[in-house]
């Protein structure tokens, strides 16, 4: 086997690093996690000239090697640990032509680690537009590197970059400046004390309070004992180092880069004037949100109806084609309806991820952060909390991970605690099916009642999140230094390839993640519903036939009675009966109760669970929705899913903390069981009370 080259993609956020990654690897990529932490690890394979293969890692975006978050830590840990299997043979530093000065700071730091580094200058298509010209030879000379001028948008220069990567042995490892001049005496002592170590590596270890999990422990302890400078002295030295690096960069760019500002056209400031305007800004934001919800509803109804009927006929087909028996029943009544309950929501979830990806890629999300910061701060949140709260509409898990760039711990903790209130895509299946059952179809001002109800539910989610943040802000006594820095990237037309890859990958993760749980739960449920203890279950036919002997039922009606009698006395029926007293004041029957209980693993299980329970024993293959519409309330009579119970159920799902994965991620991010436990107990109790009040008022 030929050796693979390890390539690390490093760069500031918003430089198009991921576009470069996509251009190099195409579909040959996989997304996972770094061991033990929840930072996303993207890696892929790229074929280089002459049959060489490169293993490419897309490292999290960082402004420098001074880590201030878990994501940035990953970068340093990898670059400092020569023994890591992913340690790069070559670093590809991605920069953006409009922010070259700032991007080069990170580049000079990587050069100091004596790792061969190629400089990629991306977005070259904007040079003319911005009046920028570069002297590449001069820059290569003074930065001691090779430069690839590329445009991922126009797909230019990618082959040159591949060529450069394959010739990685020719790249110089000489640092481009001597940073130790900032305190020659101190660095001399450091060098004498650890003659075998790289000076800049020592300096990084001293100044970072990161947990170097993978690097050699003993070595680090020895270095830590060398700390002969106080915290504030070190900080001042770091500042000096930054200034020193910028001096060098400014000098190089003075000759290497010319900017003719008369050539520059300024779309950014024109757009900013509108999008961050104190009235128009908010109005546009609101209209965008409204459009998204309307679109999710209208665009996905056709594929959803299609999927629903496909699964119904698939179930039917399985039953008629396969030999009769327990396995066929398990397949037709347990697994297929269960999976259908999740597959049906792919169109909507994909649209949601699509919109979020577009908002992020275009640079608009930063404007929302800017607009909302002052308002969010009143509630103890940060402007940056808006991003988790919006992406929480897709899934709370990535949303909680997205809180990492909130600098203040208190603001971050509050954001983590309230994010599960936002309407995640797992709630969507529950809302959609219930809205379809209980909300009429009419239109108001061109917007459907059903879409408006959905919008309202999203607003309730946001509202509750914000109000609980306000309360938490008053209760929590945490002092933490708060500061707020957010980069305002240039507006970009989102790259279709990037957006498409994000949508596919996120949807896949959602479906497979949920799919596994749903598959397991629907199998268990099917067993529990198909078997039962005692006389009542096993002799159901005799009992029912005797009971209805006086009434002249035809064969079909009789079979129906038997099936429902069996279900009621199966294991699941008995369990459901046991919890019925708790949930019947909310307007639910025991079947919904079972669906709610299994939803505590994950909300999206709800529809699948009902589908499984309803299809056990029934011969007609109906769509899930039709079955639900036919259910009758055992106590009050009338349809089980009516306006009152529907609203009560939706409110229960709006507030209850029913997601094990979210609880696990909160535990990881807050490093304590205290916060997820509080979330589970308080949110679910609140959900119960609200649902109870809603049903009792509306019934």
């Amino acid at each position: 086997m030929s050796k693979q080259i390890n390539v690390a993609l490093i760069g500031n956020p918003n430089t198009g690093k991921t576009s470069v990654f996509n251009a190099l690897t195409g579909l040959n990529q996989k997304v996972g996690n770094y061991p033990g932490i929840t930072v996303e690890k993207k890696e892929g394979i790229c074929k280089l000239p002459r049959g060489v293969k490169a293993h490419i890692i897309d490292l999290p975006g960082t402004y420098s090697l001074n880590a201030s978050s878990l994501d940035e830590n990953v970068v340093i840990e990898l670059l400092l640990n020569k023994n890591d299997k992913d340690f790069p043979d070559i670093a590809v530093v991605v920069s953006d032509v409009e922010n070259l000065k700032r991007n080069l700071l990170l580049f000079t730091q990587i050069k100091d680690l004596e790792i061969p580094a190629i400089l990629v200058i991306n977005m070259s298509d904007r040079m003319k537009y911005k009046g920028i010209s570069l002297d590449i030879d001069y820059l290569e000379d003074h930065l001691q590197t090779k430069i690839a001028l590329i445009s991922t948008r126009k797909n230019e220069g990618i082959n040159d970059l591949k060529q450069l990567i394959s010739n990685y042995k020719d790249i110089s490892v000489t640092p481009c400046l001597n940073a130790s001049e900032i305190d020659a005496e101190y660095f001399d002592r450091l060098r004498t004390a650890f003659p075998n170590q790289l000076l800049y590596k020592l300096w990084l270890v001293i100044t970072q309070d990161v947990n170097f999990g993978k690097t050699d422990r003993n070595e680090i302890d020895a270095i830590a004992s060398f700390k002969t400078k106080s915290e504030s002295e070190l900080k001042r030295l770091q500042q000096k180092e930054t200034i020193k690096r910028y001096q060098f960069i400014n000098n190089v760019l003075k000759t290497g880069q010319t900017i003719d500002t008369t050539q520059a056209k300024d779309l950014r400031s024109k757009l900013d004037r509108i999008l961050t305007h104190k009235v128009w800004g908010y109005l546009i934001f609101f209209v965008i949100l409204l459009t998204i919800f309307q679109a999710i509803y209208d665009w996905s109804s056709v594929p959803m109806d299609f999927i629903d009927s496909v699964f119904a006929s698939l179930s039917e087909w399985t039953k008629t084609q396969l030999p009769k028996g327990a396995l066929t029943n398990l397949l037709a009544e347990g697994i297929i309806p269960g999976l259908g309950g999740i597959v049906i929501f792919i169109p909507q979830i994909a649209f949601l991820f699509l919109f979020i990806a577009v908002l992020e890629e275009s640079g608009y999300m930063s404007r929302v952060v800017f607009l909302m910061d002052r308002i969010m701060r009143r509630f103890g949140l940060s402007g940056k909390s808006v991003v988790p709260l919006i992406s929480g509409t897709a899934c709370a898990i990535p949303a909680i991970m997205a809180t990492r760039n909130i600098e203040s711990w208190k603001e971050r903790l509050i954001t983590i605690l309230v994010t599960p209130f936002t309407t995640c895509s797992a709630r969507l299946p529950v809302y959609l099916i219930i809205i379809a059952l209980v909300i009429p179809e009419g239109r108001f001002l061109g917007l459907g009642y059903q879409a408006l109800t959905l919008m309202l539910l999203y607003l309730i989610g946001f509202g509750t999140a914000v109000i609980s943040a306000y309360i938490l802000n008053k209760i929590l006594k945490i002092k933490s230094k708060s500061f707020f820095v957010v980069e305002m990237p240039n507006y970009k037309l989102p790259l279709i390839k990037n957006v498409a890859l994000t949508v596919v990958e996120k949807t896949k993760a959602f479906v497979f993640g949920a799919g596994k749980i749903i598959l397991a739960i629907s199998i268990v449920l099917w067993f529990l519903a198909s078997y039962g203890p005692g006389e009542n279950f096993n002799n159901a036919e005799t009992i029912v036939t005797k009971e209805y002997a006086s009434q002249n039922l035809n064969e079909e009606e009789l079979q129906q009675k038997i099936a429902s009698h069996k279900l009621e006395h199966s294991f699941i029926g008995l369990t459901g009966r046991a919890i019925e007293p708790v949930i019947s004041p909310l307007g639910y029957d025991w079947k919904i109760g079972i669906a709610i209980v299994s939803s505590f693993a994950a909300r999206e299980v709800f529809v699948g669970t009902l589908a499984t329970i309803y299809s056990v024993g029934s011969d007609e293959e109906e769509t899930i929705k039709n079955r639900m519409a036919g259910e009758v309330n055992p106590i009050l009579g009338g349809p089980l899913f009516n306006f009152a119970s529907g609203i009560s159920l939706m409110l229960f799902y709006a507030f209850a903390m029913q997601c094990m994965s979210t609880l696990a991620i909160v535990k990881k991010e807050t490093n304590s069981w205290k916060w997820p436990t509080l979330q589970l107990v308080i949110m679910s109790a609140f959900a119960y009370i609200v649902a109870l009040i809603a049903f009792q008022l509306l019934k």
């Binding site: 104190k278 500061f483 820095v485 980069e487």
Partner: protein, 78 residues
Amino acid sequence: MQDTLAHLKRGERGIITDVSSIHIPLKLLEMGCLPGNSVELLQLAPFQDPMYLNINGTHLAIRKETAIHILIDKIAHE
């Protein structure tokens, strides 16, 4: 009294003269908020906070509470 970044009005420019390193996160310095660099206030969010700045070619937003720790010399409007 010396002007701070918080004193800038929309469209005004200045040169950073000093940053108090205790109050300013390293990240902000790394983004170019250093003595000698130019700064322009592009936009103020509603309620005059946060501030949307162009520092040394980098566009970023910071809160007023941070801006008061960055000293500047205003450049008169041309």
